[in-house]
């Protein structure tokens, strides 16, 4: 029984069948899944969701998969942690970390979108999957698609962090390192995608794939006791996650699963790649592409495909956007680890550093509930902090040496 009517162009509203299509052939607008919310409303309730296993598929009526999902069966429902020590450090009253740094199987929020994309690719009858990635998507496609039995072609920028290269190659896909930045990888993949009948998860499967991100937003609302927080800070690369978290909260409200969405959402980017933040600050909805230069490589997308929708969601919510330097990113990664025991990658550093900045600016009131989106794991981007966290204290294997070197 399907809850999906088909695909619909976000720009001009033309409708398309449920096929591996991703762009409107009239206006080039992106296609989005069109659900039958009336039917979903009659079948989905808080009680029904709560009765299901704690993974992302507990919201399956709101995901575009018609058959039984074949991937990501343990993905999602990651911890929402009340971060008392960060509250003290930032001087705020109620702050939560939504922690996808421990999202199974590959430790980033990308496992959510890939779970949907692969289930859909199988429904469409593909036997090969592919992606263009800044790293996390590469890890996730390489791992999840091997379980699902697909051939895998993965394209990354050649200068990616070692942890993300190893975390892909270990699953033995065809890994192609392209000389160029992510935007160039993306352009190349878009041309390759027209030549082969592959399921490119972020190209021809994109309308389905992107819906997986909504579960991150659903979980925040459910874990807060079926209510939306006042403020959510989201890291932005292509702009899809922030757009889908916003969509997810609005869908929950529409279905009566939460009473209202009184939430402001904020974009977090690195100063070296901040096209979405710039558009917000300049008050325009035209995204000017940039050439990225930041240690936050997972956010280094200079030409964000969903940038205009990210800006739209931020404006609609009454939120804002901010960017931070590479030094601020490293300090925030260290703060999160040393105060909450969470080791996040550079994107998480961006998000926490931006949160701190927005609180200091008075944009986020200190007494209202705040959710910080931590979407990836620090073990993958060790280069960013390796030289900035001191060294182990070396001693001889005897007590005298210990007591000489270690002052207790």
């Amino acid at each position: 029984m399907s809850y999906i009517k088909g695909l619909k162009c976000r720009e001009c509203g033309r409708t398309y069948p449920k096929e591996p299509l991703y762009v409107c052939e009239y206006c080039f607008g992106p296609l989005e899944v069109d659900y039958d919310y009336g039917r979903i409303k009659t079948s989905l309730s808080r009680k029904k969701i709560e009765s299901r296993p704690q993974n992302m598929w507990r919201y399956k009526e709101l995901l575009p998969v018609d058959t039984q999902p074949l991937s990501g069966l343990d993905t999602g429902f990651t911890p929402l942690i009340r971060a008392k020590n960060i509250e003290k450090a930032l001087g705020v009253k109620e702050l939560y970390i939504k922690d996808d740094s421990v999202n199974p199987p590959t430790l980033s929020f990308k496992d959510r979108v890939v779970a949907v994309a692969l289930s859909k690719a199988k429904e469409f009858g593909f036997n090969t999957v592919a992606c263009a990635s800044t790293g996390n998507l590469a890890n996730s496609v390489a791992a999840q698609a091997v379980i699902a039995g697909f051939r895998r072609y993965i394209f990354i920028p050649a200068d990616l962090e070692l942890g993300k290269v190893v975390g892909t190659l270990i699953y033995n896909p065809v890994l192609v390192a392209v000389e160029g930045n992510y935007d160039q990888v993306n352009r190349l993949c878009s041309e390759i995608a027209t030549r082969y009948r592959w399921a490119f998860v972020n190209i021809n499967i994109r309308p389905y794939y992107a819906e997986g991100s909504k579960t991150y937003g659903y979980e925040i609302a459910e874990q807060l006791g079926w209510k939306a927080p006042k403020h959510i800070i989201v890291p932005c690369a292509g702009g899809s996650l922030i757009t889908k978290i916003w969509k997810g909260l609005k869908e929950f409200c529409r279905l009566g699963l939460i009473d209202k969405v009184n939430t402001k959402i904020y974009a977090a980017q690195a100063t070296g790649c901040a096209p979405i933040v710039s558009a917000i600050k300049e008050g325009t909805d035209i995204i000017k592409p940039v050439k990225p230069n930041t240690i936050a490589r997972s956010l280094a997308i200079g030409n964000p495909a969903d940038g205009v929708y990210a800006v739209g969601a931020i404006k609609e919510s009454g939120g804002w956007a901010e960017d931070v330097s590479d030094e601020e990113i490293v300090e925030a990664i260290k703060l999160l680890a040393s105060s909450e025991g969470i080791f996040t990658e550079t994107a998480g550093g961006v998000t926490l550093a931006v949160t701190k900045k927005l609180v200091e600016q008075g944009r986020i009131p200190r007494e209202e509930s705040i959710v910080v989106c931590i979407t990836g794991n620090g073990l993958k981007t060790q280069e960013a902090v390796a030289e900035k966290i001191g060294r182990p204290i070396e001693i001889k294997p005897n007590v005298a040496s210990f007591e000489e070197k270690i002052k207790i």
């Binding site: 080039f28 800044t134 030409n303 969903d306």
Partner: protein, 91 residues
């Protein structure tokens, strides 16, 4: 020597399923006018009603995004390669 233009899937119905076509033109704008002459209907897909390039279209000359060059006034010379590509999601 004409300019090679790579046509994205959504426009290939207009080019009789050709994935690459050869067209003359001294700028992107002129190139699109000439494409329209050879493949009627293509211009309206690329420009909106106000005569601006649609916001979800990326055009590249020899792999460089024309928004880093001179937009649709970007000059072209013989042997250049032009790609027309819909915006695609991050990863």
């Amino acid at each position: 020597m004409p300019i090679i233009v790579r046509i994205p899937t959504p426009l290939q119905k207009l080019t009789q399923n050709q994935t690459e076509v050869k067209v003359e033109g001294s700028s992107i704008r002129e190139l699109i006018e000439n494409l329209e002459r050879d493949f009627p209907g293509i211009k309206a897909r690329l420009y909106d009603e106000d005569g601006k390039l649609r916001r979800f279209i990326n055009i590249y000359v020899n792999e460089e995004d024309i928004r880093f060059l001179k937009q649709d006034a970007t000059p072209l010379k013989d042997g250049d390669e032009v790609s027309i590509i819909p915006a695609i999601a991050g990863g």
